[in-house]
Symmetry: D2
Subunit: 348 residues, 4 copies
């Protein structure tokens, strides 16, 4: 029998409302490559949600693709992108950024987050180095919200980062593969308007929050960037979907009446229940997360017991045969499965 899966937030299909819309529009005829009414309307809904009537919005199929497109479009040949060592582009994208010719310049992370002080220190030292012209030039800053460890940026942390970016004229890019769970987390004090105000470009992750696939790349201040050829670049990177309306259509559904955040709130709620169960059982965490990724540290025996019934990700082997693992929830995580997991945790 198949185990219950808490491996990832992309193990089910799409939210039923998206499927319904797909069915209803299947035989509509539209032009290809994202030039259609669904894309237009989705862009308009997002512009309204972030309160930026001039934002330029592009849709891509996945996260690695979105990161590559944004970063390749911004950097000059000798520039690199600053990220934490834990950043998705640094560790989990198979070298997609380097494949476009750019180095990822890494700074330490603090529970997965970038610290403005580290950034400032790095940039000060960089330009103080008399041979800096022999090194990769910092060209932009990348952060993920929520981070790869489930943690979130507060308004204050992001403001401080933005201030340093401003001082050095570096665009700030927020990877929002899990933006929904970040902004609806109890640890967050930002909404999507705040976020849009605090960065130059970000993407709104659909894949991990109820869409079949799809991310919305948002340039909040398009006048700062050369976007004339951005659709050509998306094509060059293999991301210009022929039946492009599939992307627009999904974001229409997600942003028509708040489904995007509703999905994320559901995922967070289920995660908080699981978190509480581990905490009640005195099981510690690798990171303190208030979003849909939870990283408990299991003993070998606990791991053996839980894994008999559940699938989850083995994150990192620790000493004494302990194992940090990851449980993920999503819009699709059912109360029933969460109950089963909580019971199993109680019986560890």
């Amino acid at each position: 029998m198949q185990k219950i899966k808490f491996e990832t937030d992309y193990q089910e299909g799409a939210h039923p409302k998206i499927l319904e819309r797909r069915l209803a529009t299947n035989l509509e005829q539209t032009s290809g490559y994202g030039v259609d009414v669904h894309n237009e309307r989705a862009r308009e809904l997002i512009r309204r949600a972030i309160n930026k009537p001039n934002a330029e919005i592009f849709f891509a199929v996945g996260g690695t693709q979105s990161n590559t497109i944004v970063i390749k479009s911004i950097l000059d040949p000798c520039e690199g992108v600053i990220a934490t060592s834990s950043g998705h582009i640094n560790v989990h994208e198979s070298g997609a950024i380097e494949a476009t010719g750019h180095k990822v310049l890494t700074l330490p992370h603090h529970n997965g987050l970038l610290d403005a002080k580290d950034l400032k220190k790095y940039l000060t030292a960089f330009y103080a180095n008399p041979t800096y012209e022999h090194t990769v030039q910092p060209g932009m800053v990348y952060v993920s919200n929520s981070s790869e460890y489930g943690t979130v940026y507060t308004k204050n942390i992001l403001k401080n980062i933005k201030a340093v970016c401003g001082e050095y004229k570096l665009p700030l890019f927020v990877d929002g593969a899990r933006l929904g769970t970040a902004l609806t987390s109890e640890a967050s004090d930002m909404d999507i308007k705040d976020l849009a105000d605090l960065c130059d470009v970000f993407y709104i992750g659909g894949t991990k929050n109820g869409a079949l696939f799809g991310e919305a790349i948002v340039f909040t201040a398009p006048e700062k960037f050369k976007l004339k050829n951005l659709r050509t670049l998306i094509k060059q990177q293999g991301g210009l979907l022929a039946k492009g309306r599939l992307l627009g259509l999904q974001f229409e559904v997600l942003f028509e009446d708040g489904l995007y955040f509703e999905n994320a709130r559901h995922a967070n709620k289920q995660a908080m229940k699981i978190k509480k169960a581990f905490t009640d059982s005195k099981i510690p965490f690798l990171f303190e997360s208030f979003t849909n990724q939870q990283f408990p540290i299991l003993t070998a025996e606990q791991n053996k017991k839980l894994s008999a019934e559940f699938d989850y990700e083995l994150w990192e082997p620790l000493e004494d045969n302990k194992m940090a693992v990851r449980f993920c929830t999503s819009w699709a995580t059912s109360d029933e499965n969460v109950e089963k997991l909580i019971n199993a945790i109680k019986n560890l």
Copy 2:
């Protein structure tokens, strides 16, 4: 009112059977990135269809992506890919191949097809050139079937190309974005088994033949290639879909009981009706095509009349204000719309 569209073969959604399967499996839990039962089964069905039990099969989201992945995986840094000047990778992929560092080495096309004699002549001259080491080395050969002009390769033409490839140890890659309409065309004397025998790698286009999106990349003789890191390469190119089962699932449906070829036959049948209508009206063609793309040459007045009611692609302006245009059919082209078009042609 919206005009009836004959612009492309990707203007509608997916075949209803694919939508049904999507619905039925939406809440299944599977691992991400194409490691699931649907991918496994789709691969098995394709292996059976081509009669190659050892073929290695990978799924990608789109055509440009598939071309880039295959070509990047095969070529060494100094090698280029030989294609006709009309080849999709040369003209219509925004420089995706060059973006991976490789030149497209062009030969003339004959109604969109590569001629083995041109290939042989080029290779002979290449190695006879005393300074050939200062130039891009030929590393593989690319052809499209059906071609960008709707024409198809016969077994004999392809055999001759394969023979030259063999002599120079160049892998032969067939871009099958429109493989279905090629193999079911009345101009074709090959089935998919023959095709698989006559090339080293090809892809089976889903996007233009009933899928929402998706192409199946098939290495027919995997032992000739280094495929160990191919999934990593797909990830690097932004093509490893998180909810990867969407790809497998669609090819399951398409190859379970012949839907793939049924879709293509339908598209061709509708195209042949349209072709006959133009021919009956003495309207000439830019290329003689027996597949789902038809390229009639319209006078300015004919163009004006038809475009009032129908959308189609303006292909190439010709002298005397004539215009070569493209009409495309697909699995979704209805008898009703074809009838309307035929009537309009009659009344030109």
Copy 3:
């Protein structure tokens, strides 16, 4: 015994004046990477020679390197460089431009030269194509003077090209690997000031005109380009010579009192003698050249006879066993060797 070589214009070492200066300065201590008095002075001499006090000048080791650096620094990711099919970057640089991710967009050549009308026609058609955003965008124009076939641009031809470039806001780049023989040719009506006025960036070839190696890249209107990181880019491309003063020093000698043009005039003078000898013997040419490359067409017997005594490049096999060949002269070609060749031609 070694044959007399007319193979290339880089088969000898450097002009004696350069060697002397090398010896005289060998134990000077200077900072590395081109930040030294010799580079400074060489830049100043060139600025004066072209009458552009604000020109930005960079030195690189070779021609392929210079082309790559200039083109990579100017193009955006989706842009390509327009060149004739015979352009050095298209045929003889091992795909160096593509290795930086950019396509070479080719137009026909006319005896090795680009025609403004072809350029205009191409650009008009490009932007008239409704799907142009799916193709590589034209980003700059490249021409070689003298061309790969020994021919030269007149002021008028270049003006017309520049006018089209201006209309489409495309920078014009002149590859001057053989700039000296172009500007001192009897077929030229330009001096180096005219050339600098008629392009946005060019390089002055040293390697083929008396230097050991080295090319001077000149941005005539630096305010149009992002040059802040150009030295970093040169480093990235492996072209920032540690003992960078070697480059500056050579251009100091070449531009102090006209040695650069003196060398070229000598090469052309010797070539014209050889040209006359072939003409007198009724031997035809593949191209009519008034510079240091001559392309006579030899019968098999003539070729056999001449090649017993002389080395030259076999350029292109023609029908009837004829062979187009190339004879090159340079600053170092001696009267004695030219006399021997002329005698041999007379005796064919």
Copy 4:
């Protein structure tokens, strides 16, 4: 007045013996691009010096270029090169490796050296990670000898690294920009034969050891690599010098009767005198080096005094206004200048 320079080991020209040979051969006629008797003989001399009659040897102009060529030639698209965080390719080559599409995978350094245990630990963890196919694959190992901090590998350290490389089938590449001073250092127990035995490819640095420029890339076991197109790759990277004999000729002189090691011994001897002077004055070092780079830590006042008379590199600001600096010696460092420096150190 110009200060005495101890900035780098490339601030003077070439060893007089090289200049003499340049003069003597200046008007020889040879074919271009390194196909000549000087290159042939230089290769033969190096093969004899390392006792590898089958070694394949290529010459390039500089170090960044050599690293890029070797690494690009070996890695597949998804592979990266393992180096210490202090490795030249990671910090001082302007992203040249990333510009070819490859990530530099960094491990901690121990006084600039790689530790076999770190390597083993990294590789074990890499393949134990269940999602390793989503990350850059380790494809080769890079070390510098002597290192960027002047330290050297002993036979034992390198053997251990080689053993781990063997276990994981990773080629080992030694950057020998400063190979001469490494192998002649009192801290080294290897000669060049040992080194050649302990790696798969390395380069012999000429630029920093008496040549005008030039590095000899040596594949010790060419049968393990695809070298067929390596010259084409060198051309593509802008490194195939037209007057290629300049490279061969210099290595002829360096390897005819031991000049290469003589130069290095001289540099080390001068450095050891300087080291002793600092030690005698109780001035500490950032790294303990037995080669031609010395890294004393100066107080603000010492720095002020010394810099009035000498140029040296400011390496790294430390606390209490101290500054780590670098003094470099070379084949050209005179006794006189060293004496002046030693006196100045005594008077600090």
